[in-house]
């Protein structure tokens, strides 16, 4: 049981009893604190849930003249409840009104949900020090203190430990929240509930209520009324203008391969990146964006209706159509719910869009931009910085750095890998790497007689045209000795045993591996095995 307080309304969602309303009502619509439930056309009503990344919309028609409904004005508070399989609650603000005259005058309205305030609240400049995500979100949320958004931030999880300092300049509240979240977690999700309270949660998306199967559905499955999948390129672009926070962080970036493939045709988009301040960051963001929009994106939609309820944007749904060759799990991008009135209530119709997420960053009120980040696993997070890309471990220690690894000095570029202590460098920009071209073993079954050297050889078709670096060791029981290996008589200092390994080009592109075993004593009764490694430089 829950009680909601908003706009001076109180109700209990278990019994759905409203102040001044009959309990048996199937749906309720209040606009500007006036009850329009009896005047609304439920058959012309739809609610679009677009998930967390964009506004959700309510569209409906009301049988009234605009002059007779002065409560319906710009930004009037809207509350819609559809009882039954829910109840579904929508809270928002009137965005547009469209009156139609006739025998029955109608007023069509469109409303933005309360979460849309995230797009309409701007932060001019906020420089945050190193702090926790909860403290940072609280500071950002204070910019919406005068709005109907709730001040309750108890739903914001503690993620990412202490975040690095961050500059929020000329960003919407949604952009700022997403940028802060990107510093804390690559898997976190967020939403604004119907009371206007912000939730930031860790973990993957929840599962859809049903799997979708073309054919005879089994338990937990439904056969949709229709299923359509396309690979559209509506958002295709091969050149992007990054609108960054500084002149250096702004400018055009081209996808030359995509432009060539399009026979020179250039398609532009604008990427809004107010936190981009350097050329390096601009290019990184633009290239990632172009990578997502330079090809067609698989996307689909299907329809179903009550009693198959429980659909929400952000859920993961499994879709299978063997005839189409489609089988996989997809993220639900949008759910549009419409209603058909019946004698006892209404039927809900769901149009569900699924598939690849839309590329963000375009101009427009429904898009937002943020740093691009990827999921590398439970304990790894990836960040785009002004110097390149960073990957941190579960303790928020930077373990991998790609880009300007000199710390912004621009004197060394490449890959830097750091140990778990955060300071020991394993690989840096000047590391010279080798790979193993071949490895194996050789045995000398009968050791040398006194004063003699014996050898074992193998020829390998390595393909190497130069005498390679090599390494090996001698196995003596459970003990291994690196080669060359010498042993001597401690009392006289005389060398009595000598083991070496060498490798060189023998003939055309074949490498000879040679091990030698010499001794001043008789070793003919002893067998020894040698392990060898042949190396080649990765740059050769």
């Amino acid at each position: 049981m829950a009680t909601y307080d908003q706009a001076e309304l109180t109700y209990d969602d278990a019994t759905i009893v409203y102040d001044g309303m009959p309990a048996a009502r199937t749906h309720s619509l209040l606009i500007g604190e006036r009850d329009f439930s009896d005047l609304m056309d439920i058959n012309a009503t739809s609610v679009q849930d677009s998930g967390t990344g964009a506004r959700s919309l309510l569209q409906t028609s009301i049988r009234t003249k605009m002059a007779d409904a002065p409560e319906i004005k710009d930004q009037s508070f809207v509350q819609f409840v559809a009882h039954g399989a829910g109840p579904d609650l929508y809270r928002g603000f009137v965005r547009s009104r469209h009156p139609e005259s006739g025998v029955t005058p109608m007023l069509e309205i469109i409303a933005d949900d309360i979460g849309g305030l995230l797009d309409d609240t701007y932060i001019v400049s906020e420089l945050r020090p190193a702090e926790t995500l909860q403290v940072r979100i609280a500071a950002l949320w204070s910019y919406a203190a005068a709005s109907p958004l709730s001040s309750d931030l108890s739903g914001v999880a503690a993620l990412g430990g202490t975040l690095p300092a961050q500059d929020f300049t000329l960003m919407s509240l949604r952009q700022a929240i997403e940028a802060a979240m990107a510093q804390a977690s690559s898997t976190a999700r967020y939403f604004v509930d119907t009371k206007g309270a912000l939730y930031i949660l860790s973990g993957a998306a929840s599962a859809a209520p049903f799997a979708v199967v073309i054919g005879t559905p089994g338990a937990g499955q439904i056969a949709p009324e229709d299923l359509d999948v396309d690979y559209d390129s509506n958002i295709y672009a091969n050149r992007v203008y990054v609108k960054g926070g500084t002149p250096e962080g702004s400018g055009f970036v081209r996808n030359e391969a995509a432009i060539t493939a399009a026979s020179g045709l250039i398609r532009d988009r604008v990427l809004d990146a107010p936190d981009c301040e350097t050329v390096t960051m601009r290019n990184a963001l633009a290239n990632m964006y172009l990578g997502r929009v330079a090809g067609a994106i698989a996307r689909g939609r299907f329809s179903t209706e009550s009693p198959n309820d429980g659909w929400n944007a952000g859920q993961d749904v499994t879709v299978t159509d063997t005839g189409m060759g489609l089988s996989g799990s997809f993220r639900i991008a949008a759910v549009t719910t419409s209603f058909t009135k019946t004698t006892t209530g209404y039927i809900r119709h769901y149009q569900i869009e699924f598939g690849a997420s839309r590329a963000r960053g375009d101009q427009g009120s429904q898009q937002s931009s943020h740093l691009v980040y990827g999921d590398l696993g439970v304990n790894s997070r990836t960040f785009v910085t002004s110097d390149g890309m960073q990957v941190t471990d579960g303790a928020s220690t930077v373990r991998v750095f790609l880009g300007d690894i000199s710390g912004g000095a621009g004197t060394d570029y490449g890959l830097k890998v750091i140990s778990s202590d955060g300071t020991t460098v394993i690989i840096d920009g000047t590391s010279d790497m080798f790979r193993i071209a071949a490895t194996g073993t050789l045995t000398i079954s009968s050791g040398p007689a006194a004063g003699v050297t014996v050898a074992a050889n193998t020829l390998l078709a390595t393909g190497l045209t130069y005498s390679p670096a090599s390494q090996g060791f001698l196995e003596s029981g459970t003990v291994a000795y690196g080669l060359p290996y010498l042993s001597w008589n401690n009392s006289t200092g005389a060398i009595i045993d000598r083991n070496t390994l060498s490798a060189w080009v023998e003939g055309v592109t074949s490498t000879k591996v040679n091990v030698n075993w010499g001794s001043t004593g008789d070793k003919t009764a002893i067998s020894q095995t040698f392990r060898y490694y042949i190396y080649e430089q990765t740059a050769v």
């Binding site: 193993i436 073993t441 045995t443 074992a456 050889n457 390998l460 393909g463 074949s510 095995t529």
Partner: protein, 151 residues
């Protein structure tokens, strides 16, 4: 499948191994590992015959599906129709032989079962075969020590 190469003398004793060998393209870039089993099926493994290696003093060589590290030198090969079908533990130096036999047919059957179990998904064969530089661990008599995956 990838495998290890074993060279043996006239007594069948193992005298050399080749765990892995890189393949280069025409530009000298590494493009993968040599498939020794495919090479063996296509013709001789001897370098002079267009093969991949030649071990001085060896009487012959062939593939073995497991990677056993230098412990394989404690075995003698049993060759049938040019293929190494068994490894017999004969010991070496201070390590006495046990007579334990590692049979190719048994290893291949275990691999087939694992692949069928995985259906089309990738199958993890590391506990069955080991790998170059990560050989199977053997006990004193030449049997594979149990692993967490394959107790």
């Amino acid at each position: 499948m990838l495998s290890m190469l074993i060279a043996y003398d006239t007594q069948g004793r193992v005298v050399g191994t080749l765990d892995r060998l890189n393949v280069h393209d025409a530009n000298g870039q590494v493009v993968g590992l040599v498939d020794f089993e495919a090479k063996e099926a296509a013709g001789p493994l001897r370098l002079s015959g267009g093969g991949v290696w030649e071990v001085e003093g060896a009487a012959g060589s062939g593939t073995w599906p497991e990677w056993l590290g230098s412990r394989v030198h404690e075995f003698r090969v049993v060759v049938q129709d040019g293929i190494i079908e068994e490894l017999v533990h004969v010991g070496r130096g201070d390590v006495p032989g046990s007579g334990h036999r590692r049979r190719r047919s048994v290893v291949k059957a275990a691999v087939r079962a694992r692949l069928e179990q995985a259906q089309e998904a990738p199958a993890d064969l590391r506990d069955l075969l080991g790998g170059p530089d990560v050989p199977l661990k053997l006990n004193d008599v030449g049997e594979t020590l149990p692993t967490r995956r394959n107790p």
